[in-house]
Amino acid sequence: MYEHDVLIIGGGLAGLRAAVEVTRAGADVAVISKVHPVRSHSNAAQGGINAPLTDRGDDWEGHAYDTIKGSDFLADQDAVEVMSSEAGEAVLELERMGVIFSRGEDGKLGTRAFGGQKVARTFFVGAITGSAILHVLFEQSLKLGLNVYEEWFVTKLIIKGGVCRGVVAIDLKTGEMHTIKAKAVIMAAGGAGRVFEPSTNALICTGDGLSLAYQVGVPLMDMEMIQYHPTTLARTGILMSEAARGEGAYLLNAAGERFMEKTAPDYMELASRDVVSRAEQTEIDEGRGIDGNVLLDLRHLGRDFIEQRLGYLQEVSVEFLGIDMAEQPVPVQPGMHYIMGGIKTDVDGATNVPGLYAAGECANVSVHGANRLGANSLLDTVVFGRRSGAHAVEYIKSVGAHSPAQEDLASEKSRLQALLDRPKGERVATIRDDMARGMTKGIGVFRDQASMEGALENLANVKSRMGGFSIENKGKVFNTDLMFGLELEFMVDCAEAVVAGALTREESRGAHFRTDITERDDENWLKHTLMYKDEESETGVRVETSDVSITQWEPVKRVY
């Protein structure tokens, strides 16, 4: 029997930052993750972390406005105000923990430019910012002696009397299932990129956290807001950081023209990601691309600069494409990268289920709205990771003893056994690929009623096959085969919410760009979509809407 005051699902930046906060408050905390913390997908964040440092002439309102404009006015402005005003301290604290940020001549932290912002306020470590911060938070976890259930896979949240009381999980190394009781659970399990194919996301980003919360009645908000990153490598979908453009790289079409001039004459390559991705897709669709790509050109930056400031990009380009960026431009295309939508929380990470919190990519506070600015995701994880940890500590003070219930363990055991006992059927990977390709096709950079209905139809087909897949590996130790089956169930939940949100929103806003309704409609759609699991409904989901919080910035036309 395991029990903790606070259990955090996920060992990436949001989870570890929350764990540090709970430990500091003196509560008993543990992290549970299906991978070792340093394998988390926070690693993959390359370019940097935004923070307006007010003592250096920046102002947090400036960052807040850029974020809100970037979100196409769908972000909740009260939440953005919290993030922007706490950003400076959050980043400086990371430095004091040991992060090796790049510095200026004066020995103080230096910045680079990033998309959607005129002020250079992105703090960075080469092109490995996420990895560098993750490893330092992991160092802190060792210092604090944090309990980590590493390579444990959560299959279910335990809800008693409408309150979250812990989880049921498999220890992958032994195959045994256990109950872990907790007075509060913080979901920090990352995004759902693998719902799409291709995606920049790690193979572990299967929307587990979103689905687990969705299944217990928490709404997933604005799930139609899928970020397509403008610079990903063809076929593999591997990410080439926005830092390249932040440092001055050009985007060129087949004729060698900097085509961003047409859509964003002021910001050029550093317009918001949705804007750049659409411009690229337009070039490609209208025959000005090169084999489905455009070119990312860094040659004018010079070899030394590239290797010093963008070393990891050069490594990826050489290793995966055999292209030396100092000599040749790199072919890139828009690729699925991030999900702005997620578990609806307030600014303290709290959901509508008492005892259940969420932070990081799986959560939607909402600070990214319809389009996230580059380098705001790392900021989101540390600011709201900390806040959810702090609030969970307050919450558990009012919670009495642990719940005694064990029946969830028994029912989960029999559910998984039934999965293992299925007769030989379809492969999990086949169904997953069909789902993910259908999602990219229907809910792409551009979408319309027909494409979205196509995605819905495809998903219905996928759902009809979910009872028919089988697990080949019947063993106990490190049975990832079983885990992939469970992950597919999580992904289908996420896909369902994405499609429902997309079909509901009858306007174009940020990443949700409909070629059949090209205008933003503030009168009717300055609203969040909220997807609830609903077995009664034909599509399995019930959609509601809620108002966007507007504090000081009235929506205006978005021009870059």
């Binding site: 070792h36 394998r39 923990m97 510095r103 080469g126 490995i128 790690a202 492969r427 063993g475």
Partner: protein, 319 residues
């Protein structure tokens, strides 16, 4: 493109553990990596194959394994680079670490080593506001080690760990270097002293270069270990076998133009270290039996003067 793989399997559940080789052949895109091929196996041919992988972009460190006998991050190993003519690839779990199942090794060895170096910043003060002030050069210098993604390839192929599981290992030492060189850290001397520990510390590296060879991220752990040694000597941690060994090596080659192995053994142990001296006796006897005992009195190399000149030139240049 057809890829032929021979994979070392291990099932702990099979009557106390069974190991066997299994061959696969899969059809993948010509640009594919070894990881792509293994994923194809796992997803389309054999769902029982266990391995770790996540990011596919050489940043998460999950997919270290041995390809043709040498540790590699398989996500950044292109098939065409290791099997240009369609040769069969041999895939095994990493070495020097306990195998959990198939290609999955236990992470305990690696992280226990990391834990031994107190791998977190220990500053003497924390600024109340703002950040620490430090030069960009001193920070960028640390990136060599911060590039480490903890994949374990260096630990897998370390030739010292193969015979001495007590060695702290290349990754942990590279991690330690990251703190001894960090201007914000206040425990440099204490760290160097602790790493000087003769029981598995920095002097146990034999400079075989394996870790430099297999590191997929350019951390070059052995180079970091050599820098640690220099730093340790610099701060005066010279009362160690390791330092005596180095010093004896340096002197005897300078003097004789060749290594005086007898002297080296005695100097390294310390003339008055009776237990260690007694330890050396059986080694000496065994060497004698095989006719490998070095001469008790050193003889000079013919060109020993030239060697001395080389010493002087190099030392002159480095000044």
């Amino acid at each position: 493109m057809q890829v032929k793989l021979k994979v070392k399997r291990f099932d702990p559940a099979d009557s106390g553990g069974k190991t066997w080789w299994q061959e696969y052949e899969v059809d993948v895109h010509p640009d594919s990596t070894v990881l792509d091929s293994l994923i194809e196996v796992r997803e389309q041919a054999d769902g029982t194959l266990a391995m770790r992988c996540a990011c596919r972009a050489s940043i998460c460190g999950s997919c270290g394994m041995k390809v043709n006998g040498s540790a590699k991050l398989v996500c950044k190993t292109r098939v065409l680079d290791v099997a240009p003519n369609g040769e069969q690839l041999t895939i095994e779990p990493m070495g020097n670490q306990h195998v959990v199942r198939d290609l999955v090794i236990s992470l305990d060895t690696f992280f226990n080593q990391i834990n031994r170096v107190e791998p977190f910043l220990q500053p003497s003060f924390v600024p109340e506001k703002g950040e620490y002030t430090a030069s960009n050069e001193s920070m960028e210098n640390l990136l060599t080690s911060m590039n480490c993604i903890m994949c374990g390839c260096c630990v897998s192929d370390c030739t010292v760990l193969e015979v001495d599981s007590n060695f702290i290992g290349p990754a942990a030492l590279a991690k330690a270097w990251r703190f001894t060189e960090d201007p914000r850290d206040s425990k440099r001397d204490e760290r160097l002293k602790a790493l000087n520990d003769e029981n598995g510390g920095m002097w146990d590296c034999t400079r075989c270069m394996k870790c430099v060879d297999v590191c997929p991220k350019g951390v070059a752990p052995m180079d970091r270990i050599m820098e640690l040694r220099e730093a340790a000597i610099e701060v005066g941690n010279t009362n160690t076998h390791g330092y005596h060994h180095t010093e004896s090596f340096y002197k005897s080659v300078k003097k004789n133009g060749r290594l005086d192995e007898t002297r080296l053994a005695i100097d390294s142990a310390g003339m008055f270290n009776i237990p260690r001296m007694l330890d050396l006796i059986p080694i000496g006897l065994a060497a004698m039996q095989k006719g490998k005992l070095p001469p008790l009195m050193p003889h000079k190399a013919e060109d020993h003067k030239k060697v001395k000149e080389l010493y002087e030139r190099v030392e002159g240049e480095s000044k």
